[in-house]
Symmetry: C2
Subunit: 408 residues, 2 copies
Amino acid sequence: MEFKQKRLTNGLDVIGEINKSAKSAAVGFFVRTGSRDEAQQINGVSHFLEHMLFKGTEKLNAFEVNKAFDRTGAQFNAGTSEENTVFYAAVLPEYLIEVTRLWAHLMRPALRNEDFNIEKNVIKEEIAMYKDTPSFDVLDRCRRLHFDEHACGNSVLGAEESIDSLTVEQMRDYFARRYVPDNMMLACAGNFDWSRICLTLEEACLSWQGHAAARKLEHFGGSKKKERIEKTNLVCEHICLISPCVSAQDPRRFAASLFAVIVGDSVGSRFFWDLVDKALAEVATMQFSPMDGTGALVSLLRCSSKNVPKVRDIIGDIFHDLSKDGITEDELRKAKNKVLSALVIKNELPMGRLLDLGFNWIYLKQYYTIADDVKAVKAVTVDDVNSLIEQFKPGDFTQFSIGPARNE
Amino acid sequence: MEFKQKRLTNGLDVIGEINKSAKSAAVGFFVRTGSRDEAQQINGVSHFLEHMLFKGTEKLNAFEVNKAFDRTGAQFNAGTSEENTVFYAAVLPEYLIEVTRLWAHLMRPALRNEDFNIEKNVIKEEIAMYKDTPSFDVLDRCRRLHFDEHACGNSVLGAEESIDSLTVEQMRDYFARRYVPDNMMLACAGNFDWSRICLTLEEACLSWQGHAAARKLEHFGGSKKKERIEKTNLVCEHICLISPCVSAQDPRRFAASLFAVIVGDSVGSRFFWDLVDKALAEVATMQFSPMDGTGALVSLLRCSSKNVPKVRDIIGDIFHDLSKDGITEDELRKAKNKVLSALVIKNELPMGRLLDLGFNWIYLKQYYTIADDVKAVKAVTVDDVNSLIEQFKPGDFTQFSIGPARNE
């Protein structure tokens, strides 16, 4: 493994981890932009823009973009979150330059009126589908409630109204402000030739100009509000709980990951044994969501209406016990094994490695080897986790529920 | 990479491909049994039995099984198909022996009455969920129609009636006949110590005895029947097409895979350009399904009711053009790139490698390196694919449709 890094003269960061024994290579553009960077009236523009990048450039239409990916045999995709928009592909090493050149070309899209108008309907259908899926809807609503007025609570897909009123000029303006070299980076992982990657990007990206506006970074304590809405067609109760936690930059992020596994991994966690194994809830999971300058613990539960009071009591007991007695050595040991095997297995594939490599650079401007991360996970102590519990009080959460009408 | 192979004295095959540069290891038991090995009255027993293996042994209950996996941090799962039942796990190398010993122990389950009765309801819920999902239901019904009376058309989940009437004694009998050493094998991939794996299996598995009844192997031409049923709650038409193809043992399987990609890959295929890109169908894919002694090409389509006649005509045109003019050099080149990158990327991870390694052994009793498979894909010619079209006539298919009532 060899790490390489270069900043082009226009500010675009390029990084790569070369693994000569890999049989494939992965490449991705990471754009530091997402729904938290959107004003309310353009909410959803980051995700919509991600779709538009596949509609082509001045030189290629959507048909030709498709054909161009096809030629490389790439496994490719893109994704938008609250904070990042990522475009990535995995290919055989001999196609890496071709697919990198293609991505670089697509990063300067035509954003044609007619494509924009057609794609708007696709986005609206996606919003409708999410609204109809209570497990997504409850998460979106709980984030909004937890982050109150702050942009961290913005929905990634946006609202039907904001998408409806969005103009292509607003999107072009957003693009011009956010897809600038010092707000983007390119990462490579696997088996590739570093100097050829650098040459390719200098040819393709050096004309990009502009500087990004800074993102507001503050830590949020969360609203701790509780709300519930009813939907007549539902059978189950869907519950989301969010409490504040450490940020993506915080060294305690490893302890926070382990805490979430101990409390809410899909098997073998406290939620699992007390709720799922007892058949009181069908789903009960917790995830640590590290963000730029802030962080959250997000729990999702699904149970039958009649079990809601019992589930509520048991969740109360679990958090009460944690704040009173903390976690145990045995729990921490098991959680470390799970986190370490997931970490190592994910990073073994260039595609998985790319994402960790890129996000470490986006959030920390640092290169960490897999061994560095393994060491950091192993070093976490019971006291580290218990201090997090003491400081962040995970039992003191924002709660949103969606369920059927109650017969009370 | 180093390949190892050993047959224990009771007939259990053990194989492994050692990759000292891998960071993880994967292990799996492959049982050569599935729904095609079931008589009608016990249809679904293979899949039900797969569930029961997690309920424990004489020494461990379900709770303890869960705890035991937990300790290793394993990413583990199991799956049942028409022909195979596979139990697998990926772990850090230091936990491979522990998880292998655990799987070996679970391969001799207690099959307790009370567990059987509780799990029966879980299976029935799974069947109900599948029946409610038209894209699964149409595939199950089309397989039955295509394979006519033959066991290859058996549903993996079984029917509600066969599960209802199934007794634990019938399951124990099926287990005793099918989970015998010469009908099972163990495979390992990644970073592991071959001699320790062999020692572990000799300790854990040498007491297993018995011989499996042979499986009936015949090639099926398929019924070529056409059927349609209506469901009042549906909005879309769901269509499944099945035509015969080469078997998992046939050297032409690589040409068949490439043909399916050319006709029905999810992007860039003939189906994609003529149906999906034209917005006539939302889904239009074809997959090659190689089986023991036979094989099939399986296409799945979803479209609005009003587009059914147009979709039918275009499918007719696509197969007509293929039988008249065959595929092109350009199509084959692109399909090879896709198949090769998917093959190499999948096999890069020990977990993915395990499955190819195991299935090559199950079907061919052969070890093929990734390089062997890459070479075989590269060697396929336009003539190879066109000969398959000529022999198997993919336009002459069995068809099952599920859709809303027609207003005619």
